[in-house]
Subunit: 217 residues, 2 copies
DNA sequence: GTCTATATGAAGATAGAC
DNA sequence: GTCTATCTTCATATAGAC
């Protein structure tokens, strides 16, 4: 029986997982409308009716897939642990990790997808921003506040500074990559971008002007 | 007669204009797939077959519409004339104009649209970037070089500085607005963003450090 | 070149057997 | 719950009259 009619009550969790995995692979690669339920069923190794047994509609499947990705992206915004490195290196490491993440093929594809469906699924786009960008901004702002207390940085407004740091990191290549503009930036390009960003950040918030190499202590 | 088969040889330019106008209104508002040729024909006040007489396919109509918008956006990237204002105010004016442009409803909608169709129309996305963002970056870099010569600013790498200026302007609200995240920033929010950006820019390239007011020369 | 009417095909969703 | 087979809808594109 399992009398639920609207709710998704499926017997085989493995097939549900397979369907979600197929959707996660196909939707970002081909877009919402160009991904048919038949294709998802085929990739998942089930029939279309099984897909509809687990998800009431294409929209519902799409939303669950995006939400799962949001959770994954939230994980990426984890705070960096206590770190003995110099602050410049900490900023460089965090910046490079962030830039590599947001410009990864998967992240670019999902961003395109969510933007494509912002009219049809506005709440999803909002959640994607909050679980991705917003959460990362907050996490980095917390890090900056700690540096303020440690006196390694001197930042009047950590929230704004966090926003500016990430803006400088994304500004050069992010939109380019979302639009698929060629040539794609190389790993070296990205590292240089991070270096420049850290240098700017230190000039703004380092408390001294490191360009003149006089000691800060 | 009019032996052209592939080429678009239409007799009534007014209808062609009406069709393009309808496409310009409907595509950005509803997206590519959700905009039917019937709807375009209806809004344009012609029949569907007339649309096909002017444009060989939906894709072709879409591309011509985007290209027309690219031309329009290129116009927006015009150089600012010789200006007697203080450099801070010139930067503020230019920054606010730029931010208001890229966050306008029309620009946001078109950006979403182009990103949505980057898989289907990669060349269009490339052209959109080059005619929009890239051209604006170049124009602003030229302005910065002039300021270098005038000694109003001291910028080692104007191309990079141009990129950073626009990145700081877009960083805070652009992705939010593309994703339709609420609440939308107010005019006051944007002005404050521009002020902060100009302040940062002056600290980086103003030639003096206004925070500590000691001369570097 | 423009219209009325229609063909074609794809894809979301469903009915019924096991 | 899962499969095979089908229904229905709708949008692109075309055929033929004026």
């Amino acid at each position: 029986m399992t009398a639920a009619k609207k709710k998704t009550r499926a017997g085989d969790p493995a097939k549900r997982t397979a369907i979600l995995a197929a959707a996660t692979r196909l939707f970002p690669a081909q877009g919402f409308t160009d991904t048919s339920m038949d294709a998802i069923a085929a990739v998942a190794g089930v029939t279309k009716q099984t897909v509809y047994a687990h998800f009431n509609s294409k929209d519902e499947l799409f939303e669950e897939m995006i939400i799962a990705l949001c959770d994954k992206h939230s994980e990426a915004a984890k705070a960096s642990p206590g770190n003995p490195k110099p602050i410049q290196e900490q900023l460089f490491d965090a910046g490079l990790a962030f830039l590599n993440f947001v410009t990864s093929d998967e992240c670019i594809a999902v961003t395109r997808l969510v933007i494509s469906e912002v009219n049809r699924h506005p709440a999803l786009a909002q959640k994607y921003y909050e679980d991705g960008t917003q959460r990362l901004l907050n996490t980095f702002a917390v890090f900056l506040k700690e540096q303020n207390k440690l006196r390694t940085l001197s930042i009047p407004d950590p929230e704004s500074a966090s926003s500016y740091f990430l803006a400088l990191l994304k500004g050069r290549y992010y939109l380019r990559m979302v639009l698929g503009v060629k040539p794609r930036p190389t790993a070296k390009d990205k590292e240089e971008n991070v270096r420049d960003t850290v240098a700017i950040f230190m000039r703004l918030y380092g408390g001294r002007d490191p360009l003149h190499t006089h000691s800060r202590f």
